[in-house]
């Protein structure tokens, strides 16, 4: 038999325990709910950019080998390879505002990418055009930390010469390693194993062949038509303001904007999603709707 004081103490203890549980429970629930987003946070931090436009057949091959059909708003990380098929075309917008347009029958790999708006000197981007053609308009990394941006195509390595936005088109043949570069805005420094580095200025182009010293740049109007078109696209991209972007927010916004329209129904009504009804053995049904 408990004394009156002991019973009072026990009740106080139980009450304190209940208060404690009530205080702790929401924290546990919050922590559990927050766990997935905490898990997603590193992904958000490593996202290099997102696909701003997709036409035709385009794939993203992730660093782990997984390959998925691309759609506007898909994000990509370092190690991702983007492949545009025969009728494919894709626009890539990087966190630092860099724009890349990948043409049909082309493959691009993002070898490394790190953008820190508060520490541009430590920001890095290494992009490889494996085959095909692309247009590039440099972003903050290329403009403010030119050493931080490296673009490789075939056996050439390109870097920005100067501190201005640079717009150019590149094409490379994966089999022969031959390629061409056309610059419309700014200037590029091109290095090959075959000879000294060469600077290609605005409205100039250069051809590169494996094992052959690079010929001097020529006026862009003398370039083959396909290269001139690439340069023209780079010029039109360069007219847009290149500024850092919040990749996750912009990607989600774009993905939502590209969702297929909702099932037809009277305007203003909220769509109702019913659970599927499974027919039962006796012709009735199984599950909660029954």
């Amino acid at each position: 038999m408990l004394t009156k004081d002991a019973s009072r103490s026990l009740r106080a203890l139980v009450a304190a325990g209940l208060v404690l549980v009530q205080a702790v429970l929401p924290c546990v629930v919050w922590a559990q709910a927050a766990a997935p987003s905490a898990g997603a946070a590193p992904a958000a931090a490593t996202a290099s950019g997102f696909l701003s436009s997709v036409t035709g057949v385009v794939f993203i091959r992730k660093a782990n080998g997984e390959q998925v059909a691309a759609k506007p708003g898909d994000v990509f990380e370092p190690g991702s390879t983007i492949v545009a098929g025969a009728n494919g075309q894709v626009g890539l917008l990087f966190a630092d505002g860099q724009i890349i347009g990948l043409s049909a029958n082309s493959t691009l790999r993002v070898d490394a990418y790190r953008f820190d708006a508060s520490d541009i000197k430590a920001s890095r981007a290494a992009i490889v055009l494996v085959s095909g053609a692309m247009t590039v308009v440099t972003g903050v990394i290329g403009n403010e930390n030119p050493q931080g941006l490296s673009i490789a195509a075939g056996n050439m390595t390109l870097s920005v010469a100067g501190k201005d936005a640079t717009a150019f088109g590149i094409e490379v043949n994966a089999a022969t390693q031959a390629g061409s570069v056309a610059v419309t805005v700014g200037a590029l420094l091109i290095r090959t194993p075959a000879g000294p580095a060469i600077t290609v200025g605005a409205e100039q182009f250069v051809r590169l062949q494996a094992g052959v010293a690079t010929a001097p740049p020529q006026p862009l109007s003398a370039a083959p038509a396909a290269l001139q078109a690439l340069a023209g696209l780079a010029r039109s991209f360069a007219q847009a303001e290149t500024a850092p972007v919040d990749v996750q927010a912009a990607a989600i916004k774009l993905a939502l904007a590209n969702l297929p329209p909702a099932a037809a129904g009277p305007a203003g009504t909220t769509p109702v999603f019913l659970p599927p009804v499974t027919p039962g053995a006796a012709g009735g049904c199984v599950g909660s709707p029954c």
């Binding site: 010929a215 006026p219 083959p224 038509a225 396909a226 078109a229 340069a231």
Partner: protein, 246 residues
């Protein structure tokens, strides 16, 4: 019998007159068609000339609008060389504003075919030969047709500034592939052109940084002097370095 002869003769004359009138009518219709086709091309050409007066990059929409005039003209007279050449030139202008590399190549191929069709009507036009060379250059096809077009354009347009400029531009782009005769032709163009349009030709030479081609021609001294002196200075320092290395 005698009375019938004049009547038969009269009928014959009448039929002959009728046939003549029909022929005249057909010629008149054809003339009107040619006139309308020419007028439409003239309208398009006026627009193109206006662009030349105010140099600016033209959008695809504007180029397509003017190309529409040439197409309308070709709808009336299918082989109008003037319209074919104009449309071909616009196709080449559309290359730089086309949406994809494949589209740009298609425009260039269209231009090349149009120039070739126009050439069947005007085989002695240096401008058409020069444009064929230019379209072959953009197609990256430096072959026998390119060299033939270059030779004809040079021979037929010895004193035509527009032809000279196009041939020089294409020639310098493909310099390493030209035979000595054609390389000689380029210096010939620079000599002849120096009398009428030296600044324009020098601009082309400068874009390829081929000052060596003009430094020996007196007429270019005034405009090319500083670049030639720089070239000479570079060559001297190169020789000094070579001597030092030895």
């Amino acid at each position: 019998m005698h009375a019938n002869v004049p009547v038969a003769q009269h009928r014959g004359v009448m039929w002959a007159c009728m046939a003549l009138l029909v022929c005249l009518g057909l010629v008149a219709i054809q003339s009107v068609r040619m006139g309308v086709a020419g007028l439409i091309v003239e309208l398009a050409q006026t627009e193109v000339n206006r662009w030349a007066a105010t140099p600016a990059r033209r959008g695809l929409g504007e180029l397509n609008r003017v190309a529409g005039y040439f197409s309308d003209s070709l709808g009336i007279i299918a082989d109008n060389p003037w319209a074919l050449e104009g449309l071909g030139a616009l196709d080449l202008a559309r290359v730089r504003v086309s949406g994809t590399p494949a589209e740009a190549v298609a425009f260039t191929r269209d231009a090349h075919l149009r120039f070739r069709r126009a050439l069947q009507q005007r085989p002695t036009s240096p401008f058409l030969w020069a444009n064929i060379a230019r379209s072959k250059l953009l197609l990256d096809e430096i072959d026998e047709e390119f060299f033939k077009a270059m030779r004809h354009a040079d021979e037929l347009g010895r004193w035509e500034p527009a032809s000279q400029q196009t041939v020089l531009f294409a020639g310098l782009a493909a310099w390493g592939k030209l035979d000595p005769g054609l390389q000689q032709a380029m210096t010939g163009i620079l000599r002849r052109g120096s009398l009428r349009n030296a600044p324009k030709l020098y601009e082309i030479v400068k874009s390829y940084r081929r000052f060596d081609l003009v430094c020996g021609i007196g007429e270019y001294n005034l405009i090319a002097g500083p670049d030639c002196r720089r070239l000479e200075g570079g060559a001297k320092s190169g020789r000094r370095m070579n001597k030092g290395n030895r």
